[in-house]
Amino acid sequence: MDAIILQILNGLDKGSAYALIALGLTLIFGTLGVVNFAHGALFMIGAFCAVSLSRLLQLSYTTIDETQKDFLGKPLKVETAYVESWFGPELGSAIIDWAVPLAILLTIPVMLFVGYAMERGLIKHFYKRPHADQILVTFGLAIVLQEVIKYFFGANPIPTPAPSAYVGSLDFGVMLGFDPNVIIYPYWRLVYFLFSLIIIGAVFAFLQFTTFGMVVRAGMADRETVGLLGIDIDKRFTLMFGIAAAVAGLAGVMYTPILSPNYHMGMDFLVLSFVVVVVGGMGSLPGAVLAGFLLGVLQSFASMNEIKAIIPGIDQIIIYLVAIVILLTRPRGLMGRKGVMED
Amino acid sequence: MGILEVKGVNKRFGGLQALGDVNLSIKENTVHAIIGPNGAGKSTLLNCLVGKLIPDSGSVMFDGQSVLGRKPHEINQMGISRVFQTPEIFGDLSVIENVMIPCFAKRDGAFRMHAFETVAQEKDIVEQAEMMLADVNMLDKRNMHAASMSRGDKRRLEMAMCLVQNPKLLLLDEPTAGMARADTNNTIDLLKEIKEKRDITMAIIEHDMHVVFSLAERITVLAQGTPLVEETPENIKGHPKVREAYLGEAQV
């Protein structure tokens, strides 16, 4: 029982990331009819927003403190971050410590802009082209984005820690009446899970309760009819692309303490997120979320030693296996609408 | 005994009874029209004949064999060809290739790995296709890109593709839908010409009464998924049941 709870918890954070990326992919696919292979790159850009901000905040100047000597007997060089000198050492170091959550504020405008630029500059011209062309051009874009990031940040993963207040783990088991240290769960993963729930909730609320969201949902159901109503659907779809990009970016920012960002993390997550979208059902937002969590949890179950002892290697392939079985038995996915890309 | 025998066919979509106890018999070498108001179940019936839909109950016998449960390509191999509402052709291929493909299908069956002959070496097939094109007056367009032709020519090409297989039964799904009067007349002439030149059984689903009365020898009227009457065109014209179906009970 405790092992099961532990695996469910372990799967949740990865599942959250899958769900968020898949949500964005589905929004784009559902509204614009575009298969976006560069969506993983957006996730990665979000993660690197956190890296950039934490580096920016740590920018410092050097002063020579005559009163102290280093081990060579020379005056000690002291590095002070600008932030600390501006806001005072206490608040300054707190700001640096909180770089990752603060990066959310940077990520939202950056991702909205990136999404806007991508849609207006590139994707727009591919609405009427075949899916194969869309796949290929966004695949090219993903390579470009990945290489640009690699140039600026190097090829190695960059550890970006969570605020020190969240570094420890929560002993979840005690709360449920188990022995201590049986089910422990890192605080940040819990934060990530809650954060993703908030984002998912916000996206759904936005689509459900605003007129804008209503138009977008109508557009997902039947694009042509909405166009006939005289609503400038294109403009709204551009914004929708920006929002999808922002969701992917936010998923990336908050994921940095869990996985040190590297330039190919986007591609790694993209393949899996596609699988998630397919399992959930092309064009179904709840399906994407459900499948994201489901596959995350399944993956963590598959990596249990007990399971691996029975079927070796299952942890590596479980997601693909599920996708293949789903595609062959229920081509429209778990919650896909009938007739949407079923062939 | 007709070449096509439909007996007691039912088809439901959820709560909607699309076809209710349809019986239909199409005699060899006749042009049989199936007419009826919108939503009468004409297209559903057609789709049941070609294997796109499977009826909930009943039987569809073609040439003494059941077509139920067979795939569209198997049904075609039995001798049923179909013309679509909007012409379905191979747009990326040339006109002559469009006609050669059904020839290959007729000769070699549903699949054959003939990867080592060139198309040009298949003299019989080329000849057959050219004769067919000459028949429909399209020989001069033989090397044209099929997608670049006018709609009328596409329709003509599609007919040629069906006819070159010498089908025992040709199904036409609203062959003149959305056409201008002149094009419609051309299509009628084309079909009449085909009928004169060869022995062929045709089943036409049609909205346009002009087309129906110019071509059909037998007419079945469908309404709400059930055949009302089956008659010759002369007898259909003043038939009270037909009026009722088309004009509604209010006017009776």
Binding site: A323 | S81, F104
Partner: protein
């Protein structure tokens, strides 16, 4: 000749001539001239031209003719490589059994994957093949380590059985060969300032690639090829014409998988090792790019695409900032450093960036690939000639 019409026979002869003369054509610059860095006529690179050309030809039979975009073809390449290396380990260093087994195993693998994937079309098909390839890649790293040797990659060893060859005598690792002709043996011709490497391995690959090209030419011209194009054009009409599309697409998938397996076998025959990274989906993407770049559905396009990519990969990776400084030394200093900085991003390590940019540019501006680009330029040139003719004639009228 060869069961082809006149035009195609000529075409085939041109391809044969080009492949046979490649070592000479690709070394146009004298060995000690500054431009020698643009020479591509060294064995390892030429082998890659032939091998990836072969793979792209095969991929084109699937993607070009039927329109099914597979994102998992690298898996067949990898499987072919593993099969070939195992043949070297167990049977003999002769390349013939190795490439035969590579082709057969890849074909069987493609049959299984194709049978499942082809039940869907469009984007679903792409994702299914992608999933299968990723799965193979992961499995090669984990469970199948006894067969694939995991991250180290599969290599030949001195104590491998090699039942046909007998024990190695001189203590050096044996080299793959063709009945005694070692694949790495090279005959260098020095002609004045030029030097040409005639390499056994390259010629072996070239002969196979030409055979592969001939096969694809036959398929393109055959009724089977016409059916495949019909699949791409209108599957609905095919079904109602009495044709079963699935065996056609499956046959195309298996054939193209066999081409990829053969290419993988050749890679191993040139350098007897195989690693899982060959199966990664970026590798699949590269094949797609080659085909697109050259021209999807054209006969010659994939070869041009493969050659172009492999050449650029090689040349671009070699260029470094010093060379760029040399080139742009005529510019004013401040401008030079900017220009050099900019171009340096695309060369050396930056080759992948170039690849990505190229990918986008081609898909956006030249969906028909280089072949179509060439045709467009030719057409433009002809039209320009005509309009000039008109312009000059008009006053006379």
């Amino acid at each position: 000749m060869f069961g082809l019409d006149k035009k195609d026979t000529k075409f085939l002869w041109i391809v044969i001539a080009l492949t046979m003369l490649t070592p000479i054509l690709l070394n146009p610059f004298p060995t000690d001239s500054g431009l020698a860095q643009f020479n591509a006529g060294y064995p390892a690179l030429m082998q890659r031209f032939a091998i990836y050309g072969l793979m792209a030809i095969g991929f084109n039979i699937l993607f070009g003719l039927t329109g099914y975009l597979s994102f998992g073809h690298a898996a067949f390449l990898g499987v072919g490589s593993y099969a070939a290396v195992w043949m070297f380990k167990l049977l003999s260093m002769n390349v013939i059994p190795a490439i035969i087994l590579a082709t057969v195993v890849a074909g069987l693998f493609a049959l299984v994957i194709g049978y499942i994937s082809l039940r869907r079309s469009g984007i679903y098909f792409s994702i299914l093949t992608l999933a299968f390839a990723e799965m193979s890649y992961r499995l090669a790293y984990s469970v199948f380590t006894p067969i694939t040797n995991g991250e180290t990659g599969l290599q030949i060893k001195l104590d491998d059985p090699r039942v046909l060859d007998g024990a190695a005598t001189d203590g050096a690792l044996p080299v793959p060969g063709l009945f005694g002709l070692n694949m790495n043996s090279t005959y260098t011709v020095d002609l004045g300032a030029w030097s040409f490497d005639l390499n056994a391995g390259y010629y072996f690959c070239a002969v196979i690639a030409v055979l592969g090209f001939y096969m694809s030419l036959r398929i393109f011209r055959s009724p089977f090829g016409m059916m495949l194009r019909a699949v791409k054009s209108n599957q609905n009409r095919m079904n109602y014409t009495g044709l079963n599309t699935r065996p056609y697409t499956l046959a195309a998938f298996v054939i193209s998988g066999m081409y990829a397996g053969l290419a993988g076998g050749l890679l191993a025959a040139m350098d007897p090792l195989a690693g899982a990274e060959r199966m990664q989906w970026t590798a699949s993407g590269e094949v797609v790019l080659m085909t697109i770049l050259g021209g999807v559905g054209t006969l010659f396009g994939p070869i041009i695409g493969a050659g172009f990519i492999k050449y650029c990969e090689n040349i671009f990776s070699k260029i470094n900032e010093n060379i760029l400084h040399d080139w742009f030394s005529f510019l004013p200093d401040s401008l030079e450093s900017v220009v050099v900085w900019f171009f340096a991003r695309f060369v050396g390590e930056g080759w992948h960036l170039t690849l990505g940019v190229l990918f986008m540019l081609i898909v956006i501006f030249l969906p028909g690939g280089l072949v179509e680009g060439g045709q467009r330029i030719a057409a433009w040139y002809r039209n320009r000639g005509k309009s000039e003719d008109k312009a000059t004639k008009q006053p006379a009228e």
